[in-house]
Subunit: 371 residues, 2 copies
């Protein structure tokens, strides 16, 4: 890549803030239920079986509330005020399946929906809503053995602080001296180290895959990619050096020193979504001796000429949503295969630059790692 | 106790929603800085060296914003609207040091401050603000070895789900076969299993105490006390049985099976704040064979007659804030000492039914445990 690809990534990401399924027509099924991501006991927002979302906000003396989710070009969904002081409204069409960030604009000010849980995206904690996907079983909380997600604070001399990361350890970790491979997994622009567990449900995806015997258990490490000081308009100014130092000189040694890892290239992978893919691209190329597996999830491509003087990756995984112009990924795969690389691609059906694409990408990627 | 004590606890808790330091007079120092609990990059809310809090909210077409923090009886702090669309305002007096929950009332609707991080309290995610305390060093993030905080999902047959808990493991945990004692630490009404790490900073308090050699390292387990279905007015209807089953029949065995614990009474403690103290009181009395150390933080008292037919606790710890009528705690300590129990009390100076009281209580309690 890299700048051209990132520009495309970001353009797609921005456009898809307002993406929705294109099947709006006919009647709306009145089988609305609370979103699975509501705060405890909260009835709204709700979602129906078609994927419509309905909102309800108590604001008795406000004049106008708009929800940022809805149809592109129409500025989201305007709510109507009732005589009981509640604003209510339903999206004009079904939403794409999966997770969406949103916020309210109340008389011109931006606030979160008091009914919904918050998720870190767009460099702030935003409301989240979940449109249950037909394949939601793979990221559901089920009665299987569960791994743990640990918050660690690792020392970082280069930034003169203790930095936070989350570490997924698979079920049974630590009960014996068994050692595990490690995937370093990065969030996207505007997000942080909480994203892959909260929005991404990475731990539940792994628990389920492991219970089904589909993956060789591994550790996942998720830390902040230091991406959020970058504005949308100035993405070209992002320099990888600072984060690369934190990741490769500070975090990886801490993990290898404090967890039961197999500390070599063949047992270390890096993946990232969107801008985290850009980081993965840069760091794996700069440090090809450290990582054996590279994965870009809606995060650009590799070109054979970028790889040719490096240690050869054991796997390159490229994915995106079907609404993200997958031709770029598919063309890159052809070129890389011709050049002799082991490449796997995945296109998530009917999803855009959003977390269902990345949950599914992790589901597809995990069984391919460390074999 | 128990019902009478809980009524007092809850009455105090409710009254202290509007507590503030009583020294308001004279001029306001214009040395306001962003609260340490703001969202990344957010300038407001701010706090000055005297403990005044200042708020600033963009809401160009709203008519009225009130912040729930401020003077009792005056309904918090009313903000004034400027011609730039920002509402601003400062509390009428200095706030108590430490952590406070708050929210905004915007034209009659309740929302969070977009500038602040959210914390789970009052059965919802609320805005939080931190007035730096003079003794803030003990709960600060410092360059010391840090323990980890693990999210676990443990199977619960009695509630037919996987339940979440957080487990603090001290620095160096798992690097050898060393086994540790365990403190089960409960949140208060309206809170959940995130409270002791987020609002309470329990992990940092422990990291700092361990670095100073002041405590024998131990594990802390924090889970949801199932308290939030209880309304303020119907607290008497709370039954301990369901939570006791989860804690003693499901969580404790899971912890002893999955962590390096010393699984006996002499190495197991239970503590709780406010309604978590009520739970601790009930469960330690019902299961005195399981716990050797009992601690109630702003959470009532024990009476000698309640303890007399039970396995004798190795320590009873009772604490509260100086603004919480500490006479009850101090009288109970005298009575218990006369009856031959090992009792330690602690009164946090100039704090009410809020988290600085409980952070300090943990600091005082931890060195007394497992000796």
């Amino acid at each position: 890549m890299n700048l051209k690809c990132m520009t495309i990534i970001l353009a797609v990401a921005f456009a898809c803030t307002f993406c929705h399924a294109q099947t709006s027509s006919g009647s709306i099924n009145e089988d609305f239920r609370p979103s699975p991501l509501n705060q405890p006991g909260q009835e709204y927002p709700q979602v129906n079986s078609q994927g419509y979302a309905r909102f309800r906000i108590f604001a008795p003396h406000s004049d106008s509330i708009r929800v940022s989710l809805g149809l592109g070009g129409q500025g989201g969904t305007r709510l109507s005020k009732g005589s009981d002081g509640f604003f209510t409204g339903t999206t004009a069409g079904p939403m794409d399946e999966g997770f969406h960030y949103y916020h309210l604009t109340i008389d011109g000010g931006v606030f979160n929906d008091p009914g919904a849980l918050n998720f870190y995206g767009s460099t702030r904690w935003e409301s989240g809503i979940e449109i249950p996907a037909k394949d939601q079983d793979f990221y559901a909380l089920k009665a299987v053995p569960h791994g743990h997600v640990q918050q660690i604070l690792f020392p970082s001399k280069s930034t003169n602080t203790s930095r936070r990361a989350f570490v997924y350890t698979p079920p049974g970790y630590g009960k014996s001296s068994r050692r595990y491979p490690v995937l370093y997994l990065q969030h996207g622009w505007g997000e942080d180290e909480t994203a892959w567990s909260n929005q991404g449900r990475a731990n539940l995806i792994m628990d389920n895959l492991i219970a089904e015997g589909k993956v060789k258990p591994f550790i996942i490490v998720m830390t902040y990619g230091m991406t959020n000081e970058v504005k949308w308009g100035s993405i070209r100014s992002f320099k990888i050096d600072e984060f690369q130092t934190v990741l490769t000189d500070e975090l990886i040694p801490y993990i290898d020193n404090n967890f039961l890892t197999v500390a070599n290239r063949e047992n270390r992978a890096m993946a990232g979504l969107s801008m985290g893919g850009m980081e993965t691209h840069s760091i794996t190329l700069n440090k090809s001796d450290l990582f054996g597996y590279y994965a870009l999830l809606s995060g650009g491509i590799f070109k054979p000429e970028e790889l040719k003087d490096k240690a050869k990756p054991r796997l390159i995984f490229l994915s995106c949503g079907s609404k993200e112009r997958p031709e770029g990924v598919l063309n890159a795969v052809s070129t890389l295969k011709e050049a002799g690389y082991h490449v796997v691609s995945y296109v998530s059906e009917n999803t855009a630059h959003e977390f269902l694409t990345w949950r599914r990408s992790l589901r597809e990627l995990a069984p391919l790692l460390f074999n």
